[in-house]
Every structure is written in C-alpha cells, then in structure tokens.
C-alpha cells in the first residue's frame, strides 16, 4: 500500500514537473542569445509652435530572412557635433513601430556654418548592430501676423533665420503651408494652401470665411514649413476669432447610453426588482440568525433527526 502511495506521488510530481518544464522552456527560448540584426536610422527635425525642437527617429532592422521590420527597443544615443567634438545630448528607446522622439535641449552647440549637426548612434545594443545617421539643419522661426481689413482676412507669415552676426535675416523661396487646428489634427485652409516667401521672407494667405470655430468662434491658425531640406519641419500658430460660431445642440441623443443619468422609470424598475429579491435574502439571513439563536434560548424539544 505504502509503495503504491509513493508510486502515485512520484507520478504526480513527474506530471507537474513536465508541465512546468514545458512552460518554462518558452521563457528560456526567449532568453537564449540571439544574433544581432543590422539596422538603419532615419532622422527628421521638427520645431513645434511652442519653439521646442525635436528629433524624430525611425529605425528599421533586417532579420535573418533579410526582411525589413521596425526595430523595437533600440537604444539611440544622440550627439551634437561642433569644432570641439561630440557632445551627448540625450538617449531614447524605440517603440514597437521602431519610432521614438528626442526633445532637444535649448543649449545645443552650433557648428561653424551656424548649423545644428546631430548624430544618432546605435552603440553596443543587445539586439542591433552598431549604426549611425547624421542630420543637419538650420534654426528658422516663423512669426504670424493676422490682418483683417475690410472683408479680407490675411495671414502673414514671416520666416527669419539668425545670422552669424546674431541678427535676424529673412529667408526667401521657402514654401509655407497654412492650416487650421481641428480636434483630431490639422486641416489645410484651402486645396492649394502653399505660398512661397518673398525677398522679405513674407508669405501671405487670404483666409477663407465661414470656417466653423466651435461655440466660441476661436480658430488656431497654423503656418508650417514641411520637410524642408535645410530647415526640417517648422511650425507656428496664432489664435484668432475668425471662425463662425456653432451653437452645440443641447441634447442630440436623449436616450443615449452615454447620457449621465438613466431614465427614472428604468432606475425604479431595477431598484424594485432587485431590491425586492435582496430584501427577501435579508429576511432569510435574519431567519438563519434566529435559527442559530434558537439553540441557546430553548431546550431541545423535538429531536427526531439528530437523536436517531
């Protein structure tokens, strides 16, 4: 009998061990050293309306089948290069699409040509081979002036650059596109929303009327240089009350699921139904309590069941 017991215990522990070995082998497989993949880096510069500068990075990698795929969890180091050499300005980690973004510090050193010279490097990464990419860009600024004269609404965007003497200089022949901010993104003002800057760095656009501006009529006007070879993507924004006021319908879906309150009739029905059932339960719990109390309060009078 004892032998049998031991045998079955052993059998059970063997089954358990096998199950867990299988489960942990999955984890071990994923932990096994893998061959590093070759990677390539793409960089782009973005200057946002709040004047913050960002480098967006996209990394792709080649796996053993020679197929390109997004490089997930790649560590990228960024360096600013000037005559003094390289200075580390930050690090980022790519997401599952191989993308990441670095907010550039305000004090990045410029090189001799008044250009920002940034190098992105993958160095000694566990998953990817070493690689690097360079991006050069000049820092331009767009300033917006809004002018409403007679029935015309003009948006004047001036593009300037700081020269080596520290003074602003206009930038000519740069395409500036005009947009307005909507809830889920930016919308071109017109089908052809692009204007080139003139000698004075000025690009003007005649803004259309009757663009909906929500309940306040406010619009956020955006002027943007997109994917420029020298300047990257630069944008500027200004708020103005040029939109037509739209009164929101007070209760467009009176029976919608997202209404804050349920119809009172529904609440009453549910409360009565479930309240009724739960009060019966409460009565049953109370009776059980009384059954328990009964033992201590009274002598056993009738014990047909237990004393048999």
């Amino acid at each position: 009998m004892k032998r049998r017991k031991i045998y079955f215990r052993k059998l059970y522990f063997t089954i358990i061990s096998v199950v867990f070995c299988i489960s942990f082998s999955t984890a071990q497989n994923s932990a096994a050293p893998k061959e590093k993949m070759s990677s390539s880096i793409q960089l782009a510069f973005n200057k946002k309306a709040d004047n913050s500068k960002h480098i967006t990075v996209k990394v792709s990698a080649k796996n053993s089948d020679n197929k390109r795929k997004p490089a997930e969890n790649a560590h990228i180091n960024f360096y600013a290069v000037n005559k003094d050499g390289e200075k580390n300005i930050g690090t980022c980690l790519t997401d599952n699409e191989g993308k990441s973004e670095l907010l550039l510090p305000k004090d990045i050193p410029l090189d001799t040509a008044m250009t920002f010279h940034i190098v992105a490097k993958i160095e000694n990464d566990e998953l990817y081979e070493n690689s690097d990419e360079v991006i050069l860009f000049k820092d331009v600024t767009i300033s917006i002036k809004l002018n409403a004269a007679d029935s015309n609404r003009m948006v004047n965007a001036t593009v300037v650059i700081i020269g080596s003497d520290g003074k602003e200089k206009p930038v000519k022949d740069v395409a500036v596109k005009f947009y307005i901010q909507r809830m889920f993104g930016i919308m071109p003002v017109a089908e052809d929303n692009s204007m080139n800057t003139d000698e004075a760095g000025l690009a003007s656009f005649n803004y259309p009327k009757e663009i909906p501006g929500g309940s306040t009529g406010n619009l956020s006007v955006i002027a943007k240089i997109e994917d420029n070879e020298f300047f990257g993507t630069v944008e500027s924004a200004a708020d103005v009350k040029w939109g037509s006021v739209i009164e929101a319908e007070k209760n467009p879906f009176p029976r919608a699921l997202w209404e804050p309150y349920a119809p009172p009739s529904l609440v009453i029905v549910i409360c009565v139904l479930f309240g009724g059932v739960w009060s019966i339960y409460m009565f049953i719990f109370y009776t059980l309590y009384k059954i328990k109390k009964e033992k201590s309060n009274t002598q056993i009078e009738f014990d047909t069941f237990i004393k048999k």
Binding site: F20, A262, V277, Y281, I284, T287, E294, K295
Partner: protein, 468 residues
Amino acid sequence: MENNIISYELDDVREDSLRPTHKWGRSTKIWLSILCTIAAWGLFAFIFQLRNGLGVTAMRNYVSWGLYISTFVFFIGISHSGTLVSAILRITKQEWRRPITRSAELLTFVSLLFGGIMPIIDLGRPDRILNLIIFGRVQSPLLWDVISIMTYFTGSTVFLYLPMIPDMALCRDRLTITKTRFDKFRKWLYTFMAIGWTGTKNQWHMLEKVMNIMTIVIIPVAVSVHTVVSYIFAMTLRPGWDSTVFGPYFVAGALYSGSAGVILGMAFFRKAYHLEKYMTPRHFDLMGRIVLALTLIYAYLNLNEYWIPAYKMATHEGVLLKDLFFGSYSGVFWTLQFGTVLLPIIIMAIPKGRQILPLSITCIVIVIGAWVKRYIIVVPTLLHPYMPIQEVPADWSSYFPNWVEWSVTMGCLSGIFIVITLFSKLFPMMAVWEVEEGVEIEHDKQMAIDIRKKREVEKLAKSGVSVN
C-alpha cells in the same frame, strides 16, 4: 423493485450518504491530481495573458468576445439545472426529486462561480473590475448582468445551503473522533455550517419557511439571469443578435443543457459513490422525459430564431445566415441542429433511449452541443459587422481560440470538477433528511393503504363474503 422510486430502507440512507465523506480513495487522489495539474496549467496561461495583455489570445478588434464569453454563457446556462430540478420539482411536490436535488443545486453553484469568473478573465485589465460597480451605468445591460448574476449566485448559494443545515448537524454529531488535523477542520466546518442546529420544532418550522420562500424566489431570479445575459447580445445592433426571441431562447437553451448536466451528474455520483439504490433507472427515465420536453421547446425556439430571418434574408442578416447555412460554419451549424437537437429528441422519445447509458451519452452530446452553440452565437456574428472589415491584418477577419484561451478555459472547467469533488468528499451528496422524509412518507402511504385494505377485508367479512 428496480422500477420503484424508493427502493431503500431508512437505516441505509445515512450510511450510504455519508460513506463517501469517510475516506479519500486512491482514485479520488489521482482524479484530483489530474484536475489540479490542468488547473495549474490554466493558471499559468492566465498569468501569461495578464502579463502580456489580451494580444496573446486569438481575439482581435472584431472578435473581442471569443471562447471566454461563449463559455460564460454556457456555464450560466448549465447553472439553470439546480433551479429546474430542485425548485420546480419541490414546488410541484415530486417525491422522486429527493436524492438528486443536492447534486443539481451544487452544479448551479459551481457553474455560476466559474461562469462569473469568465467575463473577468476576458477583461484586458481585470484589476479594474470594481470600476464597473463604481462607475457603472444603470442603462447598460452589462451592469444589469453583473447585478443579476450576483443576485442569482447569492440565491443559489443560500438555496444550496439551507437544506444542508440539518445534514451538517448530523455530520457534526457523527464526527466524534478527531485525531487528524483534517478531521478537526471538518468538525469545525460542520459545526460552523450547522449554525447550532439541534432539530427543535421551531428550527424545523423556520427552516421549512425559508426553504419555501427561496424555492419560489429562485425561479424568477434564474429566469431573469439568462434573460439578461441574452440582452447583452440582443440589445446590441448586430446581425444575428438583433432578435426579440433571444430572452426565451436563451432560457430554454439553458434549461435544456442544464437538465442534461444534472443527468450527467446523477450518472457520475451514482457510479462513483454507489448510490444505485437511490438514483434508480426510473429517476433517469423521468429526467429523460423532462430533457425531452425541454429539447422540444428549445427546438421550437431554435426554428423561430433562424427560420424567420432566413425567410426575409435581410441584407446583413442574410450574409450571416448564408455563412451559417452554407459557408464556413455550415458543418458545425448543421451538426448542432441534427446531432444535438433532432437526434436527442428521437433517442429520448424511445423508452430504451431513456435508460441510464444511452441517456447519459445523449446528455454528453447535448452538453457539448450547447457549448459549441454558444460559440456559434457569439463568434460568427462578430465576424459579420455592419461596417466591412477592411485595411486590417488578414488574421483579424477570422477567429479560432489559441492555446492561451483553451488552457484558461480548461483550467476553469477542471476548477468546476475540483470544487464538485471536494464538496462530495466533505458533504453528503444527498440531502439525508429529505431522503429520509421521503422514506417516511412512502411508509405512511403504504401503512394507509394497508389499513384501508384491512378495513375493507373486515367490512367484507362482516357482510359474510369470504376473503382469501
């Protein structure tokens, strides 16, 4: 003798009912070890899912309810068994119910326990489950579902517990030797659950009163639960679910699969705990008749559910129905209709088909069929949305559960068997006092018949007629 409902003596009842709780056999230990291993594997898969998110399952944007929700609906359906057998037969004063009520009530309790877990497993963030209560919207059928399942679960637990009180007192008083820790635990458990039951007149009176109340209350609660589960589907604007017959259809399907589940439970306990005297072929025959009636009702509603939209073949509904009738799901669909509805009707209509073995096999088919049917209700509809499936990865437009879902579901299923096994090893699987009461009633009846016979004989003798 075999055809009699009561074919046992009063003295046997206690011994036979309490025998399984006396010792744990080798087969029980092996059975529990296998179940625990499956449950452990299921738990591992669930932790894996919890750590890595629902992305590790085969569910995607379109099929966001897969095996888990199908199993949830199936378990809730099975939970109707206790209500049907115990409450309805109690109300209609069917004496033959006595030995089988406890297994039916237990099946309700465990299937609700694990049925309630399934939607939580289906959540990406189960830790936020309380938000459903805190920020729940009264106008959402999901909240109704949570409330009604909680109400039914509480009711079923009470309904299972109430007839156990006198039995717990019996177990408490019989367990006199408590050498081992486990015996001490059992003694404590029985004492706690017996709530000081001594069998006074007053206690019996109060117990009978609350049992009568619960018997009446639990029926509408059970019906409401599966109706509300059907509302989750029917109140969503989707082809295949947009149906007014869904409430009764779900309830009928639940009763049909639940009562088949009870027969399987009866067959299992009869064999495993040698309760052949109590669960006779007659019990199976009567339960078979009930399942037959319920299958006929279910078949009628099934016809309505598919025939009316098939006659109209409205645009989106038509696409779904064509897929079910002639497309990728046609094999499963027609197997279900013929194999798990029509064939059981034919088998159970024949008296020989209601014998223990053929009826048990038929019930296995019905229970598995009911599970697959829930899958057929949930998945094909989700794969036929009103907005076309486009510009998404190819695998989003099809669904079949992967190893994670199978493991978790099988883990839950083995959990059900673990609870049933442990319960049957701790508590008597027949309501001892109820069965004894049945014997007494039967004896009283017999005595009344004998007395009547005796008087008639005396009368005839007085009038000069000789009686042999």
